[in-house]
């Protein structure tokens, strides 16, 4: 009887190597679809808060994505402390993206800022990436029933109805799973921040 072991071995090795070689050719194509070097190149953005009036919000680009910069009035800051029980993650601990290196004290975790009056935070809704609208006054009077009755003021996403407070912390029972992402930034002058 003929011994087929050697032939079987050769067949397995040859087809195995062929399949492995074909699989590896996928690598350059996948890499070509990933963000290119120029897209990856990190950039920084400066912003001077003295250009805002108290209570004013601006949306500025950082790495092509929108960022909220908000000059919070003393009432807005006080407001932040009043509704922790309505929030999903009041201390911003759920995932690394909602925290930042500068978050050291509980106060910074709650106001989500280095200086409580100046908020710098990602403007990308953590549900599906829309830019939430700025709806700062409490109650339904100015906004209608798209916000809850006990609305303390904050951000409302027009796409799927997620709500965040004035520190970008997400409310319970909305589609968004996390607080607005915190960003790496530092003060380079009294009122000027460097994001990135």
């Amino acid at each position: 009887m003929e011994d087929k072991t050697r032939r079987k071995f050769l067949y397995t090795v040859a087809s195995g190597m062929g399949a492995a070689g074909a699989a590896v050719t996928v690598v350059p194509f996948v890499r070509a679809m990933q963000p290119a070097a120029d897209t990856l190149a990190a950039s920084t953005t400066e912003f001077d808060f003295s250009t805002l009036t108290p209570g004013e919000l601006k949306v500025i680009p950082w790495r092509g994505q929108p960022v909220f910069v908000l000059y919070r009035t003393p009432e807005m800051v006080k407001d932040i402390y009043g509704h922790n029980d309505l929030l999903l993650d009041p201390m911003s601990r759920a995932i690394p993206e909602v925290q930042a290196g500068w978050m050291k004290t509980d106060e910074q975790r709650i106001t989500r800022s280095i200086k409580p009056e100046y908020l710098v935070i990602s403007a990308v809704c953590t549900h599906l990436g829309c830019v939430p609208g700025f709806e700062p006054t409490p109650g339904q009077k100015a906004w209608g029933d798209i916000v809850p009755k006990d609305w303390p003021g904050g951000f409302h996403c027009p796409c799927h109805g997620s709500n965040y407070d004035l520190a970008g912390r997400v409310f319970k029972d909305v589609p968004a799973p996390y607080n607005l992402h915190a960003l790496p930034y530092k003060y380079i002058k009294e009122t000027t921040v460097l994001i990135g």
């Binding site: 897209t39 092509g64 990308v124 599906l128 939430p132 796409c159 109805g161 909305v174 589609p175």
Partner: protein
């Protein structure tokens, strides 16, 4: 005339070398068809006509479109401006673009009616399960193609629609973010995304044509169902040509009249086919206050939106498609047509209403009332598939006819 051409010596010469003539005879002339097909059976050939319209208009649009987000002098982008150029400067560009946009909506309208027909007359059942699977696959393919195409004008709804839908990928556990950046070619929807979506919008229709061809060839293996759901005897079938070639051409003509009325008089389809917000150039810093997808995607979008949890919402939406795929195996009744199935007929009708309600709510702003209505409709949608395997147990079907 046709007979003369097919019987000619030239045809014989070609056929001996490629079998082309016998394919034409088999698929377009001799193909036996039940004699009792009603107007519900016209939508397949109308869909083919629309596919042809989309390919022709699409190729001509691509000659003048530029998939670039490069800012232009007026503060817009090359993509946005090239679409304006097609509308204003290119000869009949406005006609070609309006035809392309209106036909996209009609494509879905016709395909949805085609599906209603299949569900009502039980055309998804043995031996046509594979035909049904390919059909659902074609639907998903079409939805991917319009999604890619919708980004191209680089308007507000283009940009934010693409942002929201690609973000769905990001919710996949573990590999979600990696995949999201792979699809976008960046951290957010931008220049690289537009460029590749243009390529996909061209590539996927080519693949779609292959699947559609396969769908038709598979149909010609298992043959058309008919309104009775009973297999016709040989004496009750008629050849495809001239009976159904003429009937299908009549259907296509009626479609073309309605289609042209929209293209020439209401090219934006009253804001349903082309959304008003998309006449504003894309602004990555501001989401429009009222963002909803085009009407044909709203039922699935509404299922996603009514679930108050990101991952579960996406699971729900995927499951809505999975249920459709499973339909041939969920329905266990030996009778095909709803004509003879009083209970199935009623639950199917409720299901259709639920899909319409989902579609309507998906087009409205998020308020507690619409969320509540949408949620109820989503429950009805899934309930249909839950009770489907049990319908035959308590259903007394009406007596079937001997022949069609």
């Amino acid at each position: 005339m046709l007979k003369k051409i097919l019987d000619s010596r030239a045809s014989e010469w070609v056929d001996e070398r490629t079998h082309l003539v016998r394919y034409i005879r088999f698929h377009l002339i001799d193909y036996p068809t039940p004699k009792n097909l009603n107007f519900w059976y016209a939508f397949g050939s109308i869909a083919l006509a629309i596919l042809a319209i989309q390919i022709v208009t699409g190729v001509f649009l691509a000659m003048d479109y530029k998939p670039s987000t490069m800012p232009t002098g007026n503060g817009y982008s090359e993509a946005f401006d090239s679409v304006q150029r097609i509308m204003r400067d290119v000869g009949y560009g406005w006609l070609i673009r309006y035809a392309h946009a209106v036909a996209a909506s009609f494509f879905f309208f016709v395909i949805y009616l085609h599906m209603v027909r299949s569900m009502y007359y039980g055309s998804y059942k043995k031996p046509r399960e594979f035909l049904w699977l390919m059909g659902i696959f074609i639907l998903i393919f079409m939805q991917a193609i319009v999604f890619f195409g919708y980004l191209l004008p680089w308007g507000q709804t283009s940009f934010w629609g693409a942002t929201v839908i690609t973000n769905i990928i990001g919710a996949i556990p573990v590999v979600g973010n990696w995949l999201l950046h792979l699809v976008r070619g960046g951290f957010s929807v931008g220049g690289p995304t537009l460029n590749r979506f243009f390529v996909f919008h061209f590539l996927f229709p080519v693949l779609l044509c292959v699947v559609v061809l396969w769908h038709v060839m598979a149909l010609h293996v298992v043959h058309s169902n008919n309104p009775t759901g009973v297999e016709p005897s040989k004496k009750n079938t008629i050849p495809f040509h001239p009976y159904y070639t003429v009937k299908d051409l009549f259907g296509v003509s009626v479609f073309l009249i309605i289609f042209c009325w929209f293209v020439f008089y209401h090219p934006t389809g009253f804001g349903l086919m082309m959304e008003t917000d998309n006449f504003n150039p894309a602004n990555p810093m501001r989401t429009p206050s009222d963002i909803t997808p085009v009407w044909y995607l709203t039922p699935w979008y509404e299922i996603l939106r009514t679930v108050p949890n990101k991952l579960l919402g996406i699971v729900g939406m995927v499951f809505a498609y999975v249920c459709l795929f499973l339909m041939p195996w969920l329905d266990r009744s030996p009778v095909r047509s709803a004509r003879y199935r009083p209970v199935y007929r009623q639950v199917l009708f409720i299901f259709f209403v639920a899909v319409l309600v989902l579609g309507y709510c998906g087009h409205q702003p998020v308020t507690p009332m619409y969320t509540w209505i949408g949620r109820s409709a989503a429950i009805v949608y899934f309930s249909f598939f839950v009770i489907l395997p049990f319908v035959h147990k308590f259903e007394r079907t009406k007596p079937l006819p001997e022949d069609v």
